[in-house]
Amino acid sequence: MKKIWVVMGIFVILSGIPLYPQQEHFRRFPPPPDPLQELKLPPIASALLSNGLGVSVVSRENVPFMSVQLVVFAGEVFSSGKLPGTATFAAGMFGRGTLIHSASDIDEIMESIGGTLSVAVNQDYVLVTFNFLEEHLDQALDLLSQMILQPNFAENEIASIKRRTAYDLIDKERDPQFVGKRTLLRLLFKDHPYAKQAFSSEVVKNWNQADLMDFFDRYYRPNNAHIILTGNISLGAATRKVSHYLSTWRPQDIPPVFPLIPKPPDKDKICLIDVPQAKNCAIYIGAAFPTPTVQERFDLTVLNQILGGTFASRLFMNLRESKQYAKFAFSEINFLKDGGVFFAQALDVNPQTLIPAVQEIQREIKALTGEPISFQEIEQAKSFLMHHFPLEIERFNDMGARAAEIKARDGGDEGWNKYYEQVKLVDAGRVFDAAQKFLLQPFYIVIAGDKNVLFKSFIDFDTYDVYDNKGQFQYSVTKDKKGALNEAR
C-alpha cells in the first residue's frame, strides 16, 4: 500500500501538477477566447463647404463631451528653408490671443465651457484638438473661429513661445533618444522638406512676427483644412454650425511642395552623435521609403509588429529579455503623405554592449528579408493588431484623432470599419514581399551617447561621421589599411 502512495507521489511530481491538491481542473489552463466581436464604428460622414473647408462627423451618443479636430496642411514641410520650425512656431501660437481676447481671457473662456485645447505638428499637418462639454458647441466654434480668423500675434506671447520652445529643445538635446531620432530624420531626408521637422534649438532665435504672420496667412486657409466633429451631432447640423462660424474664412491657392524622397546611402552609414555626460546611449537604424499602396501599408504594419511593435516582439525579446543589451528595443513605421520612415531603436543601451546590440538589430532586420516567418507568428501579430485597435480609439478624443488622421492622409474605411478585414488579409508571403521591397536597402545607423565613453566601441567601425548634439557635422573618421584612425573635417 505504502509503495502505491510512493509511486503516485512520484507520478504527481513528475507530471508537474502543482501542490494544490484540490484545485479544479479548469484552473490549469487559460480558457479559450470567445469569438471576436465585430467592430462597428460610427461612419465618418463628410461634406465640403463652399470655401473648400472639409467637414466630417463621427456621431457618438451618450457622451458628455464633444471634440473638434482641425487639420491644417501646414506641417513642417511648409516651413521656409531659411526658417525651419516656423510651422511649429505658428501652431504654438494657435489660441494664444485674438483681436478680442487675450491668451488669459481664452484660458477663462476655455474653463467656462469645460474645454481643453492642444496642438500637435508633424511633417505634413497641424492637428488642433478642442474638447469641451457638449452643451457648449456654439461657444466653442465661436472661439475657434476667432482663433482662425482674428489671431493676434502679440509680441509678449511670441516671446513666451520662443522662450518655452528653446528651453524645451535645449533640455531635450541632453537626451540621446531625442537627439538620435532627430539626426536620423535629418540624414534620411537631407534636402527634402521633411528634414525641416528636425530643427534644433538654435533656429528658434530667428523666428519673428512677420514670418509667422506670413506663414499663417499663406497656409491657414479653408481649402487647406478639414474639420472633424465627434459627438452627439449629425453631419447636417455640424455643417450648418461650422458654416455659420467659418463661412467667411477665405480660400487661397497653395502651391504643393513635395520633391522625391532622397535615395538611401550606397552602403550602411554609421553616425555618432556626441551627447556629453550621457550615461547610456541610444541606437537608431532606419531608412526612408517611397509611398506604399494601401495593401503594403498593412503588410508593413504586421511586419513592424513582428519586429518591434510591442514588448512581445522580436527586438524586445532579444535585446532586452534574452541578452539584456538595452532597456527598451522597438521598431516603428511612420507613414507620411509622401513616403514613410522605418526605424528600429534600442534605448538605454549600456556602452559596453553597444556593438553587439547594433549587430543584433541588424540581424533581426535581415532575418525578415531572408527567412520565412512562421504562420503562428504572423497570426499572433495580426491578432494583436486587431484586438488592440479598439483600445487605441476608446478614449473619446482618440476616436476623433483617428478620423482626423484618416482625412489628413486621404485614407478610407480601411483605417476604420474595414481595419479588421485588411489585417486579416495579410499573410506570410505578403510580409516577406514587403520586407524585400522596403527593408532590403542600406541603412543609416545613428548612435547617440557620450563620445568619450563610446570611443572604444567605435574602434570596430571602418568609417563613421561624428555630429554634435545640435546635429552639426563635426568630422569623419576612417580607418586606414594599418588600422590607424584618421579624422577629416
Binding site: 502543482p18 484552473r27 477566447p33 466581436q37 474645454g115 491578432s383 483600445l391 476608446e394 473619446f396
Partner: protein
C-alpha cells in the same frame, strides 16, 4: 431601465446572491451608468457595469491594503507585494506570464499600490474576459511566493529607493513632511518604506501580509465594458467563488487627534537644488458634505489655469514661485490639503507663504462671485466626467468609490452634490480648516 430590470432578473435566476444592488449613476439628465453590485459567499465584492459601445472589457481588482496597513518595522511590504503580484507567478501561471497573456491578447494592464489601497487593472478585447478572470483569480488564490522572486523584488525596491533619492529632488522632504502632517505611524511613513526595514523583511513577512490582506473578503472585483451579464456572473462564480476567504481583516486605526497649533519645521534636503516648502492642513473626514466643498475649493485654489494660487504665485509678470503643486490627499479616513512650492531664495519662500495665507484670507472674508464659482465647477465637471471616459477609468473609479465609501448609495447624485456647493459653504469651511493654527509648514533648505 429595461436593461436594469433584465439584469436583476438574471441575477435572481442564478439564485445565489446574498446581495444585489442595481443603480444608475449620475442622476437625472446624465449619461446612464448602470451598476450591478453583489457579494460572493467568500466575501468578494463584485461590481459589473455594462457599456456596449466598443468590443472591450476592463477588469479591476482592488485590495483594501496599502502602506497604512504595514506594521512598524515592516515598511515597504505593500509596494513590494504589488510587484510580486506581477512577477511571482502563481499555481498555474509561470513568473511574469500574466503580462505575456494580456499582451498576446492585445490588451493593456497596470497596477498601483498607494497608501490605502492596491489596484490591478487590465483592458482586453471582450472575447478575452475569461482569460483575465483566470489570471486574476489564480494570483488571488495561489501566488507563488518564494525566496528567489522575493529577493529579486527586494533588490529592485532598494534600487528604486536609492534611485529616487538621487533623481527626484525633494523626495526625502516629502517623506519627512508626512511625519509632521500625520500624527500616527500608519499614515506618516512612506509607501516605499525605509531601507533598513526592507532589508530586514523576510519571506514569512511577505507570506503573512499576502494571506492577511490579499483575500477575497478584502477585495473588490469590478468588470466594466462590453460583456454579457449572465455569462459574466457565471465566469466570476467559476473562478472566484471557491477561493477560500481569509480571516477578518484588521482595518481599524487609532482615532485622529490633532492639536490645534501651528507646526513649523525645517529640513535639509541633500539633493534639492533650490529652497522649497511644504504646507499642509488637516481636513474633515471624506464621508461628509465637507468633502464636496473641499473639492470645489481645490479647483478655486489650484486645479484650473485661472485658479487663485496659480495666478498669484506663477503670474508671468510677477512670478514669485518657481514651481507649485498641491491638492487634496486622502488616505482612508484621513484627509489633508497639501501645497508644495519651489522658490529661488528662502526669502521668496516667506513671500509665497504670505501670499498663500493672503489668498486664503480673501476666501474667508469675501464671497466668491457666481461667475467664478460656476467656471471652477465647470472645470471640475469636465475632469469628473473625463475621468470616466474609458472602461478602465470606470472600473478604477467604481473600485475606489466602493473602497472609500463601502457602498454606492451616494454615487447617483454625487456630481450634483459637487455642483451644489455655494459661496455660503466655502467661507465657513475655509475659516474652519485653512487656518494658521491648523497649518503644518516644513521649510526645505538646500545643503
Amino acid at each position: 431601465m429595461f436593461k436594469q430590470k433584465r439584469a436583476i432578473m438574471c441575477l435572481g435566476l442564478l439564485g445565489v446572491l446574498p446581495l444585489a444592488v442595481v443603480t444608475g449613476l449620475f442622476g437625472q439628465g446624465s449619461s446612464p451608468f448602470p451598476v450591478i453590485h453583489y457579494k460572493l459567499r467568500n466575501g468578494l465584492e463584485v461590481i459589473l457595469s455594462e457599456d456596449l459601445s466598443l468590443p472591450l472589457v476592463s477588469v479591476a481588482v482592488a485590495y483594501n491594503v496599502g502602506s497604512i496597513h504595514e506594521p512598524p518595522g515592516k515598511t515597504g511590504l505593500a509596494y513590494l507585494m504589488e510587484n510580486l503580484m506581477f512577477s511571482s507567478g502563481s499555481a498555474n501561471i509561470a513568473p511574469f506570464q500574466h503580462f505575456n497573456f494580456i499582451n498576446h491578447a492585445g490588451g493593456q494592464f497596470n497596477g498601483v499600490a498607494v497608501e490605502d489601497k492596491t489596484l490591478f487593472y487590465q483592458t482586453v478585447p471582450s472575447n478575452q474576459l475569461g482569460l483575465v478572470l483566470w489570471l486574476e483569480s489564480d494570483r488571488m488564490m495561489s501566488l507563488d511566493l518564494n525566496e528567489a522572486s522575493f529577493e529579486q523584488q527586494r533588490t529592485y525596491l532598494l534600487e528604486d529607493l536609492s534611485q529616487r533619492r538621487v533623481n527626484e529632488p525633494y523626495f526625502e522632504s516629502f517623506v519627512a513632511f508626512d511625519q509632521y502632517l500625520y500624527s500616527d505611524f500608519a499614515h506618516s511613513h512612506s509607501l516605499l518604506g525605509s531601507e533598513d526595514n526592507i532589508r530586514n523583511l523576510t519571506l514569512e513577512d511577505v507570506k503573512s501580509f499576502y494571506s492577511t490582506f490579499y483575500v477575497p473578503n478584502n477585495a473588490v472585483l469590478c468588470i466594466t465594458g462590453n460583456f454579457n451579464a449572465l455569462r459574466t456572473r457565471e465566469l466570476v462564480a467559476r473562478y472566484f467563488e471557491n477561493i477560500p476567504p481569509g480571516k477578518d481583516v484588521p482595518q481599524s486605526f487609532a482615532p485622529l487627534v490633532y492639536t490645534k497649533k501651528p507646526i513649523v519645521a525645517s529640513f535639509v534636503d541633500r539633493f534639492a537644488a533650490a529652497p522649497a516648502f511644504h504646507m499642509g492642513f488637516r481636513m474633515a473626514s471624506p464621508i461628509s458634505n465637507d468633502h464636496y466643498t473641499l473639492t470645489i475649493i481645490d479647483y478655486i485654489l489650484f486645479r484650473a489655469r485661472s485658479s487663485r494660487l496659480i495666478r498669484r504665485l506663477l503670474n508671468p509678470d510677477n512670478k514669485i514661485a518657481y514651481q507649485v503643486s498641491g491638492g487634496i490627499e486622502q488616505r482612508k479616513d484621513r484627509v489633508t490639503y497639501k501645497i508644495f512650492c519651489v522658490v529661488n531664495t528662502p526669502g521668496m519662500g516667506d513671500q509665497c507663504q504670505n501670499a498663500i495665507f493672503s489668498e486664503l484670507d480673501k476666501l474667508k472674508k469675501i464671497f466668491i462671485s457666481d461667475d467664478d464659482l460656476a467656471r471652477y465647477k465647470t472645470v471640475f465637471r469636465q475632469d469628473y466626467l473625463g475621468r470616466l471616459s474609458t472602461s478602465m477609468d470606470k472600473a478604477i473609479y467604481l473600485c475606489e468609490s466602493y473602497l472609500s465609501l463601502g457602498n454606492f448609495d451616494d454615487l447617483p447624485l454625487e456630481l450634483e452634490k459637487f455642483m451644489k456647493v455655494s459661496p455660503n459653504d466655502i467661507i465657513p469651511f475655509v475659516n474652519r480648516y485653512f487656518t494658521v493654527d491648523n497649518s503644518v509648514i516644513l521649510n526645505v533648505k538646500t545643503r
